[in-house]
Symmetry: none
Subunit: 130 residues, 4 copies
Amino acid sequence: MVIIDKQSKKPFYEQVVLGIKEEILQGLLVPGEKIPSVREMASQLMMNPNTISKAYKSLEEQGVITTVQGRGTFVKELVVSRGDEEKIAKIKGKMLDLVIEARYLNVELPEMITWLSEIADDLGGTKNES
Amino acid sequence: MVIIDKQSKKPFYEQVVLGIKEEILQGLLVPGEKIPSVREMASQLMMNPNTISKAYKSLEEQGVITTVQGRGTFVKELVVSRGDEEKIAKIKGKMLDLVIEARYLNVELPEMITWLSEIADDLGGTKNES
Amino acid sequence: MVIIDKQSKKPFYEQVVLGIKEEILQGLLVPGEKIPSVREMASQLMMNPNTISKAYKSLEEQGVITTVQGRGTFVKELVVSRGDEEKIAKIKGKMLDLVIEARYLNVELPEMITWLSEIADDLGGTKNES
Amino acid sequence: MVIIDKQSKKPFYEQVVLGIKEEILQGLLVPGEKIPSVREMASQLMMNPNTISKAYKSLEEQGVITTVQGRGTFVKELVVSRGDEEKIAKIKGKMLDLVIEARYLNVELPEMITWLSEIADDLGGTKNES
DNA sequence: GTGGTCTAGACCACG
DNA sequence: GTGGTCTAGACCACG
């Protein structure tokens, strides 16, 4: 169940997108599985259906889910193909920003590596076999 | 010299803030050193002085630089004191988001650790001696 | 309702900041309560929205209010944690300045203590129960 | 000897004005005493003579010192006559601002009264007899 | 409708 | 010349 932080600066729809991706990586959602309809999800999370719709559209564009008219929305096979070097560069850039901010909070490299490992554990190991 | 990506989603003033913090961590700017005036920086980066002013204000609030009475703006002594656990938690959260996105680009943990190390090198190691 | 003294040397946005803090301490604004939008406040006080925005930003950085995704701005739970000795020292310094000026207006210590008490009363006593 | 904090936000000339008033209240400077010339003071404090000049002008307008052409600058008799209710109201207003800020740093009334007493002691008691 | 960002341009105090 | 404040007005993302 995706959790929305209403206090967060991150837009709701982005939180939904990331939350679903996280559940897939964790194996809580498996390929082929049906996810709640826009309206169901909206009422579950107490949010505006438009917001959920926006999130689902984004996930569909990213190839993470697929919508079948009148049937529902389903998790797609997780195929990740290395390739978009531009997107990877962006992530690296964001990582640099995080490291800069962390330094100013007196957090050093070894600790950040520990964080990474913990996060990777949370997501179910390097290889995610469901 | 701070570089601004006019295409980036990140606000200009935040890019300036991060850019200056980066230069300090790299030792390119040292405590006591004068940084360009608001107007100079604005013309260098082809931006409005108000935008630079906003960045400098933010840096001052964060204790990174200090402004002296019509004389200019200076880099402060770098004192980082562990403490703000709330901010640290936020960074951890952003790290999780990055890892999720990275996974979908087929980037795994070992590679991200390598990135971290490279970034840390770029910033001059754990202890930054100028 | 915050009152702005257009004659004052104190910047408008600082007056707004202090005015809102005062209303919170007085219990006129309670945690969770929505405060007027930037535009509303601007038109109420006959000021430019940018000025109000600056005040709200400052209050948010100070942890006094919080902004929620296009929904508005809300008063945060009032948590004051002793700690920033540097800021406390600054206030002490300002108090010294006030005492010096007061002396030159023939106002002595007992009278200033009376003022303090009156002010504290106005703010609802030591413990402010809403 | 007046001390100037070059880091302070308070204008240099105001620091000089307050510093001299403080020394008079403390009895370190007594009526009739000659204070250093603008140039002397400027070199002592390592400041621009224009800044000292501005401070002396302000003190003269306030009736604190008097300048005799070719003779020098002297401390005047300390006559404080209650009267300017407007100025007193301003000080009260600033006191309110200080109390608000103090509250947000978890400093309560009794502590502020202690501060006041300490400050009054530093200035040589309620009645300053030299 | 909400706040966030940015530009343009003006005026000000300080040194 | 320096930064600080303010207005006016524009455009944007989010919900």
